[in-house]
Symmetry: C2
Subunit: 279 residues, 2 copies
Amino acid sequence: MTIENLSVNKSFGGWHKQYSHYSNTLNCNMRFAIYLPPQASNGQKVPVVYWLSGLTCSDENFMQKAGAQRIAAELGVAIVAPDTSPRGDDVADDDGYDLGKGAGFYVNANQAPWSKHYQMYDYIVQELPDLIESTFPVSDKRAIAGHSMGGHGALTIAMRNPQRYMSVSAFSPISNPVNCPWGQKAFTAYLGKDKELWRQHDASELMRKATQFVPAKVDQGESDDFLSEQLKPEMLEAAAKVSGYPLELNLHEGYDHSYYFISSFIEQHLQFHASYLNQ
Amino acid sequence: MTIENLSVNKSFGGWHKQYSHYSNTLNCNMRFAIYLPPQASNGQKVPVVYWLSGLTCSDENFMQKAGAQRIAAELGVAIVAPDTSPRGDDVADDDGYDLGKGAGFYVNANQAPWSKHYQMYDYIVQELPDLIESTFPVSDKRAIAGHSMGGHGALTIAMRNPQRYMSVSAFSPISNPVNCPWGQKAFTAYLGKDKELWRQHDASELMRKATQFVPAKVDQGESDDFLSEQLKPEMLEAAAKVSGYPLELNLHEGYDHSYYFISSFIEQHLQFHASYLNQ
């Protein structure tokens, strides 16, 4: 497995780096970014927070806009930001911003024309961590976090793999995709008509039935334009009550769906993850 | 004078807002961004740091990437980020990224075809602060800062107007534009062949002859690809020694020309400005 370094920037005493590698899971070249805190240059194996971005994003949005490196450097955690879908000229796409490239929804597609490349679930759960842990000075302690579509991805991946993640957090997640337009469109395309399969990738469905708990923190802006139609955090909260899930859900007056919201609260999220990762 | 609000985002308890207005100085519509810290919503008049961006940038780069809002909110200072040139279909442009739109160089052009719109010096020094101070809950205490071309702009504007600015800072400024390719190309186009006029917009020339001092802080990455050919901070340091100018110049191993560098040290810059603005 070879990876190619694309860029290097010093940041808060650590290093932001972009890499390209061929993904056998996705059958295409993929780019990801990693932030290695100063501790990683001192022979220490640091834990990793995986960040899953939202619709239309690449590995760059979070690294450039969230202001996370300052806190990651303090706490001694690495951050890995993958892309949000397979990429390349021969990868199927759709005219909508909410399907196809930039909108992989962190599931394994089983429908044509998507199934050849859109296997983002397996990429995030297995191939990427394997690559990261065999390449960089990191431990196998993992947390996962994300925004919007990536919040959906983080919550569902953590709850389906409680043995692999010590904590999970989300900003403005698509909390109940089986009941919102974004989720219904993507799941119909990628997963077909079997609604039982859809529910296996729905954070509220998984949280309602959970018996193994990955501690979860969710923050949501009350002025988010997508709140009532697409995000529905109240469904997640109701599900947590049924199963007794350790969900910390906070609503924030005036905040919207943008990185101005994420940057305002990313410090709390990384502190939350570090409290588990650095135990 | 009317201005139109284009966007609003809550950020660290304050507000990031973008506005459009017609500039009589530039003869075109201009966009700027302002960050108003929480203190400005409580009836307090806050001081303002003006941020001048570098080549190719708009009002958005700094606001999205620098991570400055967290510190501005703590310190109670507003930040105003103007665009880097006049804009619009009837504004003269050049194929190069370093001349024309996105590259106004913060001077008043006196050469065709530039002189009709490229009056960025007057816009930054007078028209924009007049607009800001008559529109928002801010005081007339001002600091000015910038990056690269904007570092040149901040240093030269502060030194030419010591009564208007309490402090000045720059990341990776074009320190001696009369002696580097970027500066020579822009000054030839905008100011013509009169090198005496060029020197009036050269930070090192102004610093060498300065008799009134605006405290200055400059940070420069040692792995900056533009360091030796375009930026030349050693010329600024030498000039400061001649005049006894209060210049704090810091070099940083491993850091480059990007916002990863700016975000790593923006807290120090805002603390520097607040120490003068909040006196």
